[in-house]
């Protein structure tokens, strides 16, 4: 018996095991939302803006490995998720995003809220398609979930015209999917090539493992740690790879790249075999390509063939999932003598350890240390900017914790909604959002989502009154001309609140009162002495978010820093 497209839509999501949908209604998805109204199969989350929506789905997906599901209307609903699609594309986050579309007959007419969203997002989705026949709907949804989560994960967009949603058609949802142009290599690895990679590592005098986000995505952390331990090879990570091995592990050096640790960058610059897994050698990692790991033979294990030998020409390419490759490597691994090399790395670390100036009051390092102490084994979600780099430098990650951050696309506004999504997916886990006064305001409306959904994330806002990362570059490279980076310009002339007798800060917004206006909690921390009480108070709130606003010095810099395009061994150390 035939069923409507909207009924098949619900059936498909049920069969895919979807438990949460991030959805914002509108004219061209009325039918789908009407169908969702009739069922309690899914937790339907209503955000306050579609950009917040898709970042919430990203946080959900990144923290669970499951596919995040978005449902938005046509036109502006669809264009509002574009930034999130790009973000998910760059950081390999599995999403299936359903967009409503005007009825088939109106497509191309510049109809109300019509936009060619598939065309617009072609280069930032793994796959995108408009459903043009009701009979294709089931197959397309099946394909979408399959493509999003297999191989190198990514976002898939399914655009469903309004008349397809109500049209009758086949009731069955396919069990299997076979796409002739898409054969992900999840379980295979070329043994001969992997053996060459292993032999190269075995022969090295100064070996180094560079772990990227691929290790975390394929959950190969345990295997990587065991492999490094067995062979005594030190490990550096990219930002997306942070946590690939526990950060307190003796073999872990630190992050490398633009704001990497001195010892980590020096290790990359001086190693003789760079054994890289699950990284695409983004320019933030390599710096000047001609000077990248100049004396090293490079092994590159990656699931994405197109990532191999794109930026860095490698000596031994291996196309494989990180976990599959590492499990095989573990069978061969034998102890190696690397004590001299590790001593050298340790000497670099002692020469220039990661440490911030503590004279300017509340230092970011101190805040991160407190977060480590008060919220261990948590999911940490950051926004983008200076606070993000401090988090990647100073947060300690173990097997029980996770760092979620917008690494590839660098999307300001990502952090807070992604934290909400992570908490919705992991209600029993502590979720800490680390954000800045700039990025937080880019999706601050999601406070309403968090409060109505009863999501008790702890939001640490590092407020330096500036767009700090841009300001830092202006300070170092643009003659201290702080063009359009001050967020408290002419603050003294701000109109004072009427009817409020308490102290009013000389900047906007007052994050504490803002939190309260949404029904959340807010507290301001000016010095380290106030920290303990603030964290203790935040922990008592188990139903809505707590915003802890840390007032930090505008002058704080993220160091070391490599100027864009310079070799990573040339660091500004401060």
């Amino acid at each position: 018996m035939d069923i409507t497209g909207r009924k098949l839509f619900v059936k498909a999501l049920q069969e895919e095991g979807v438990d949460t949908i991030f959805g914002y209604p509108g004219g061209m998805v009325m039918d789908l939302f009407d169908e969702l109204y009739k069922t309690d199969l899914f937790h339907l989350v209503l955000p306050r803006h579609e950009q917040g929506l898709i970042h919430e789905a990203e946080g959900y997906a990144k923290s669970t490995g499951k596919v995040g599901v978005c449902l938005v209307t046509s036109g502006p609903g669809a264009t509002n998720i574009v930034t999130g699609l790009a973000d998910a594309h760059y950081d390999s986050i599995p999403l299936v995003c359903f967009t409503g579309q005007v009825p088939l007959g109106l497509i191309g007419n510049d109809a109300f809220q019509e936009v060619d969203i598939v065309g617009m997002t072609r280069s930032i989705t793994k796959y995108g398609v408009t459903v043009r026949k009701r009979s294709d709907l089931g197959k397309i949804i099946k394909m979408a979930f399959h493509i999003a989560k297999t191989g190198k994960p990514g976002p898939v967009l399914v655009d469903i015209p309004k008349d397809i949603q109500s049209a009758p058609g086949p009731a069955n949802y396919p069990v299997n999917v076979d796409i002739r142009g898409y054969k992900p290599i999840n379980d295979n690895v070329h043994i001969g090539q992997l053996k060459r990679a292993y032999k190269l590592l075995k022969s090295a005098k100064k070996p180094l493992i560079l772990a990227g986000g691929g290790v975390n995505i394929s959950c190969a952390n345990e295997q990587l740690r065991a492999f490094a331990e067995k062979m005594h090879v030190p490990v550096v990570t990219t930002i997306m790879g942070k946590g690939a091995v526990p950060t307190t592990h003796p073999l872990y050096v630190g992050n490398s790249g633009m704001h990497g640790k001195y010892a980590a960058n020096m290790a990359v610059a001086n190693c003789d075999v760079l054994f890289s897994i699950g990284t695409r050698f983004n320019d933030r990692i390599t710096g000047d390509l001609n000077e990248f790991a100049p004396s090293a033979k490079i092994v590159h294990i990656d699931i994405d063939t197109a990532s191999i030998s794109r930026n860095v020409v490698v000596d031994v390419p291996v196309v494989a999932d990180a976990k599959v490759a590492l499990e095989k490597l573990l069978e061969w691994a034998e102890p190696k003598k690397t004590s001299e090399w590790r001593k050298q790395i340790q000497a670099w670390d002692e020469k220039n350890p990661l440490a911030m100036n503590q004279d300017r009051g509340l230092s970011p390092q101190c805040i991160m240390n407190w977060i480590n102490k008060e919220f261990p084994h948590s999911i940490y979600v950051t926004d983008v900017g200076q606070h993000q780099m401090w988090a990647t430098q100073f947060l300690e990650l173990d097997e029980g914790s996770k760092l979620i951050t917008s690494g590839g696309f660098g999307t300001m506004g990502f952090g807070f909604p992604a934290a909400i999504g992570a908490k919705i997916a992991n209600p029993d886990k502590q979720v800490v959002c680390i954000t800045g006064d700039g990025g937080f305001q880019m999706n601050i409306q999601e406070l309403a989502t968090a409060v109505t959904e009863k999501v008790p994330v702890t939001v640490c806002v590092l407020n330096n009154f500036y767009l700090g990362m841009v300001r830092q570059q202006q300070e170092l490279f643009y003659g201290k001309r702080y063009s359009a980076t001050c967020l408290c310009k002419d603050a003294a002339e701000l109109p004072k609140y009427r009817g409020i007798k308490d102290e009013v800060p000389e900047y906007a917004p007052d994050f504490v009162r803002l939190a309260e206006s949404y029904g959340a909690y807010g507290i301001r921390v000016r010095s380290e002495e106030e920290m303990e009480e603030a964290f203790a108070w935040a922990k008592t709130h188990t139903d809505v978010p707590t915003i802890i606003e840390f007032l930090i010095a505008t002058e704080e810099l993220v160091l070391p820093m490599v100027k864009g395009g310079n070799p990573i061994s040339e660091m500004i150390l401060g």
Binding site: G119, R122, T130, G181, A306, S309, R310
Partner: protein
């Protein structure tokens, strides 16, 4: 860096809306140097075959093939560089404002280039060629040097692997 030269790819793709835009979009998005792209359905009407010519060095060409392979809609990528091929491009050339002596010359050129004179009238002559892309380039260069007003339309190359390669 290796030599920049023309290289050829044959692509089997899903015959669906938007696939041509996706493939051609890749070339603009990644700043690859696309020379020509032709597309048509194959014996299986759900599949189209594209013939793509790009100018690139070795590394970029490898990258292009990988990027194309990554696309869900791309069924197969075949590198046609240095493969024995039958390759032709259709070209129409209109030569205008010519006198009788020049018309005579055009007929001679047509004979030498194995082009057909398919239309003429008043002071204009039209040639139709099914030559290789390079031979067409040469013909265009010759016509340009000899005549003031010409109008060219060309179809882009189509190519297919040879059946008998033994004598090559």
């Amino acid at each position: 860096m290796s030599e920049m030269k023309n290289r050829w790819i044959a692509l089997y793709v899903e015959n669906q809306v938007g696939v041509l835009a996706k493939v051609s979009g890749l070339f603009s998005a990644k700043s690859y140097n696309l020379q020509s792209l032709t597309v048509g359905t194959t014996e299986d009407e759900t599949v189209s075959r594209m013939t793509v010519c790009v100018t690139s060095d070795d590394i970029t060409f490898e990258q292009i093939k990988k990027q194309l392979n990554c696309m869900v809609e791309v069924i197969k990528v075949i590198d046609l560089t240095d493969v024995p091929l039958h390759m032709k491009e259709i070209l129409f050339a209109k030569v205008m404002h010519v006198d009788a002596a020049q018309i005579n010359e055009i007929f001679q050129i047509a004979q030498v280039f194995q082009a057909d004179v398919v239309d003429m009238g008043g002071d204009s002559v039209m040639l139709e060629c099914k030559l290789t892309e390079r031979r067409n380039n040469e013909l265009i260069a010759l016509l340009k040097s000899k005549f003031k007003r010409i109008s060219i339309v060309r179809g882009g190359a189509v190519a297919i692997e040879t059946i008998s390669t033994g004598c090559r």
